[in-house]
Amino acid sequence: MANRIKIKKGLQIPLLGESELTARGTVTSEFVRICPEDYPGVAPKLAVKVDDTVKAGSPLFYEKKHPEMVFVSPVSGVVTEIERGERRRILNIVVKADGTEEYIDFGKKSVASLSPEEVKKAILEAGLWFAIRQRPYDIVAVPNKQPRDIFVTGFDSSPLAPSYDFILEGQEADLQTGLDALAKLTAGNVYLSISSKTTNPALRQAKNAVITEFDGPHPAGNVGVQVNHLKPVNRGEVVWTLNALNVAMIGRVFNKGVADLTRTVALTGSEIKEKGYYNMLIGTELSSIFEGNVTEGISLRYISGNPLTGRKIEKNGVLRAYDAQVTVIPEGDDVHEAFGWASFSPKRYSAGGTYLQLKKKYRLDARMLGGPRAIIVSNEYDKVFPMDIFPEQLIKSTLAFNIEKMEQLGIYEVAPEDFALCEFVDTSKLELQRIIRTGLDMLRKEME
């Protein structure tokens, strides 16, 4: 029987638009775009030029300091464009799929017979290393550092989150292979956290991992919260974090011998008519699943990911690297709501008690619903931040970039996503995730 940890603080935002557990087939697109900025902490160096022919599994770019960490093309085809932004920053690498799905064969391997170095090499060369993130700094794991432990979250608790139970059906063997591979990479433990509602036996009865059951509202599924409750990160230590979907993806490279970047993606959100799960590659253009499937006549926000931590994309945007969810909500920039501060409207949702909450589910748009202010209300962040950390004090020290205070208050234990709920409930409408991301990046620069 797994250990059980009860999370009390947190918030399950009752959003409209949860996906039905229905598989709706595979989505492909002519062009596939890979965005290097999806990978935190990675300084991309191109490995291809425009007009180069690539196979699925050929490197498109690599990390400047760690050339062995490559990022590969999900399809076979031709590189048609490298889009750049300010200061020649690479925005997108566009690959035109030729439709042949020719994969580079890395060879099937049995994890049990491999040394840790060989396991690491297999993941790196297949371009799947990005699946492993590290704390501190919440970046793609630095491959030559030894992690104290590896933490895997087996469920997603965020609003409208995809069901890992459902996605992992049929991937049970890959998941176990992935866990076995990870177990080779650390001298410590692989911790797998499951929800009290988890039913998939591959998660519930996984081997080679310490299983803990978490019960409670979001962010119970955030790996950072789980680390903090199981074995917090101390100064000087490194832990690696992943979600179970990425573990299965790593498992696939050993079982199938190819870099298969297929994701099962939940299409969610109040503005989607036909919700469900689609199979697609990372980088696939999403316009075909939006076409005729969204509310007409209002301006919409398309999000790759969930409404708390996802990235805003255009209607013709692509599935971003870490996401297994696509959400469409109203943008709200065409709404003029009078006297919001005096409103008794049942459409407004608030986690606090300042609005009457009569509805069960809410259709929320992307408006800020207020102007930025100094931090005024106290105990607001704490209520949705189930870690042994003072969030407000940490935010303030990060804003001031007081490194000593940041360290003392636990900056090494957190990731921007841990502050997503704080940002949601914040009366002062501050961009907390951006503050933490910037702080972590600056801190890393300072320390390395």
Partner: protein, 406 residues
Amino acid sequence: MKALRNYLDKIKPNFEEGGKLHWLHSTYDAFETFLFVPNITSRSGVHIHDARDSKRTMIIVVIALIPALLVGMYNVGLQHYMAIGQQASIWDMFLFGLLAMLPQLVVSYVVGLGIEFAIAQARKEEVAEGFLVSGILIPMILPVDTPLWMIAVATAFSVIFAKEVFGGTGYNVFNVALITRAFLFFSYPSKMSGDQVWVRTSDTFGVGGGNVVDSYSGATPLGQLATSEAANFSEFTFQGITGQSLSISDMFFGFIPGSMGEVSTFAIILGAILLIATGVGSWKTMLSVFLGGAVAIVITNLFAQNALMDMPMHYHFLLGGFAFGAVFMATDPVTSSRTEKGKWIYGFFIGLLAVAIRVFNPGYPEGMMLAILFMNAFAPLIDFYVVDANIKRRLKRVATAKTANE
């Protein structure tokens, strides 16, 4: 509403950068966001936001203050007509109070908000809503006869020197409304204490003229007790302004002389219920103020040497600004402790000190204002120790992790 929206959209360019009226941009923005929820959508981070914003928070506090404000207005009229010995209907009394109160409210808001708007413009920021609450609190904690020019000077002083020099709403160390009162108390003590300031005996805008009855005395209950020669509380009775004895229910419902907002414990409880139900005010702070007060009262009662030390607990809580301070002043999140453990300590010492000042300082029978201001100064220190415990725990964890590895 649509016509108004169109009008706002039409005049908006004037206030943008380069427009003729750009120097009023913050003012325009304040009015626009007052009328309509801004439809700016999120650019980074979360895509959805909680409907609660700073305006909603402040308006809840203002609504919570309204019962105390209304009862206070009525009581100003009640005390006035009692003092001049005339019969008047409830509505006349209320009207008199309203007329007495309104100029003070207007002065406080005009001066305070005027400064806030100007400074927000200079800083190119949005106007913060903090003064919406301070502006209504200020007349509620002052004697009704405070001259308007004094309110103007004190409000200007406290908005500028207690708030804006520290960076504006959210950065102030001391409660703005209490600094206003403290400024007046130390600058014009004769207008802020004693027997003559708590009841308006003259007419207001020609309403309620008359001569004070012979038996009139305007001392507040706490003032009476502080100057009393009685050796213990049982020899003492509280008197109303015409010499009638005051019952517990008079004190509970607020029919006694005193600052307008502070008299009615009943109305304050209504406000407290709203603040706690909406989560805007911290019940921990409120409760701990009363706990701290209770401890101090039990001790002074035990070692009672005079009537003031002997005063039972319920009188302490019903009289003066104790309840008002606990509910509306101590809970100000900016100047209070920001950690939950800290709030218990912070509130406890406010209650303790308020009673101590009340009982042991004969020159100043009401200690709530000074107790809260004093603890405002200590709130950051309390937080420091609460947070430091967390830091120590983290450091200890590093140490044990190291020894385990060796």
